[in-house]
Structure formats: C-alpha cells, structure tokens
Symmetry: C2
Subunit: 105 residues, 2 copies
C-alpha cells in the first residue's frame, strides 16, 4: 500500500448540464488552471456522462473557502448558474482514509 | 438552500482501465444493484472518460466496511484487480457540508 496522506479535504461537485453549453469547456479549463495555482491545491479529477463529477482535493477547509471566493471563480460560478447547469450539488468532505492499487506488469 | 443531511460518508473510487474490459459493464451494473440493497446505502454517482469516478454515499463507516467485505463484492474487487483496472484509488470521506442548486424554469 502507498503512503496515506490523510487527513485532507475533497470537494465533490456533481452536476447536470443545460443544452446551452457554449463557452463551458473553455471556462472549465480556465478554472482548472486557476485552481491549480491556489494555495492548498492538491489535485483534481473530472469525468462526465449523464452526470458530471469533478472532485478537487485541498489541504484545508480554509483553502476551499478561499477558492470558492476567488474573484474569477465567483464569476464562473454565476455564469454556470445562468447558462450551463440545470442542477449541481457541492459536498465538502474530509478524506479520512485512502488506499491505492497499481497493476504489476 | 435544500436541507443539509450531513454528516454522512462518501467513498470516492477513481480508476483507469486496462484494454481488457470484457465483462466489466455487467459486473459494474450488478455491483451497483447490490450496493443499493446494502444497509446504510444513500446513493451512487458515476462517470467515466479518461478516468472513471464513482462516488457512493453511506450513513456510516461501518456500512462502508460491511459493503467492502460483502462476498460477491469481494469477488468483483478481485476480478477488477486481475482484469479491468490498471490503477485505482479509494478515498473514504466524511461529508461535512453540502449545498445544492436547481435551475428555476
């Protein structure tokens, strides 16, 4: 087993989109690049089919709060509510335990 | 804002697959149906592109432990390590806060 880095924090962002996703991909890429520059950023994983799931990982709850309030991110959030998302849910989580598997070749 | 149901628990399962995914979809569907019958199950969300993310939600850490040890699920996990996954990571999380947005039509 690989070293356990817990505790740290995860933001699970689950969403469904509208039909009007013009500008979404560019903004999502911008926000991902911006998130990577924030204090306390640890990583991000995304996938989308019927539902989109983005999980970002952070050192502390304060880091998450600062990212939520970051000016450009606030604008992106507002744009998301107006144009891109029918629904979303945000869950702030404490990662208490983790383990990992890597295939031996 | 919709009612906050925290605290509860989330298992974030992130994975990358091998080229040999024969039987995977059937097993994933079976495991999802089986998970839904377990005590303490609250919900599940999945998406896959380059990376697959499945998040399942549970009332307690004991419910998560019981699901991990469920016999058919143990067999599926072993099959996953042998055939389907190049890599996976499991994170056990406490959901501390949540909020939700639904578009007004």
């Amino acid at each position: 087993m690989i070293k356990d880095h817990t505790p740290y924090y995860a933001v699970i962002f689950t969403s469904t989109q509208t039909e009007n996703i013009k500008g979404y991909t560019e903004m999502a890429n911008q926000m991902e690049n911006l998130a990577k520059q924030q204090d306390g950023f640890l990583g991000i994983e995304s996938a989308r089919n019927d539902v989109g799931i983005t999980v970002s990982y952070w050192k502390s709850l304060d880091d998450i709060k600062n990212w939520k309030q970051q000016t450009d991110h606030l604008i992106a959030q507002q744009r998301g509510r107006i144009d891109w998302y029918n629904w979303y849910k945000v869950r702030i989580c404490k990662v208490e335990r983790e383990y990992e598997f890597t295939k031996k070749h």
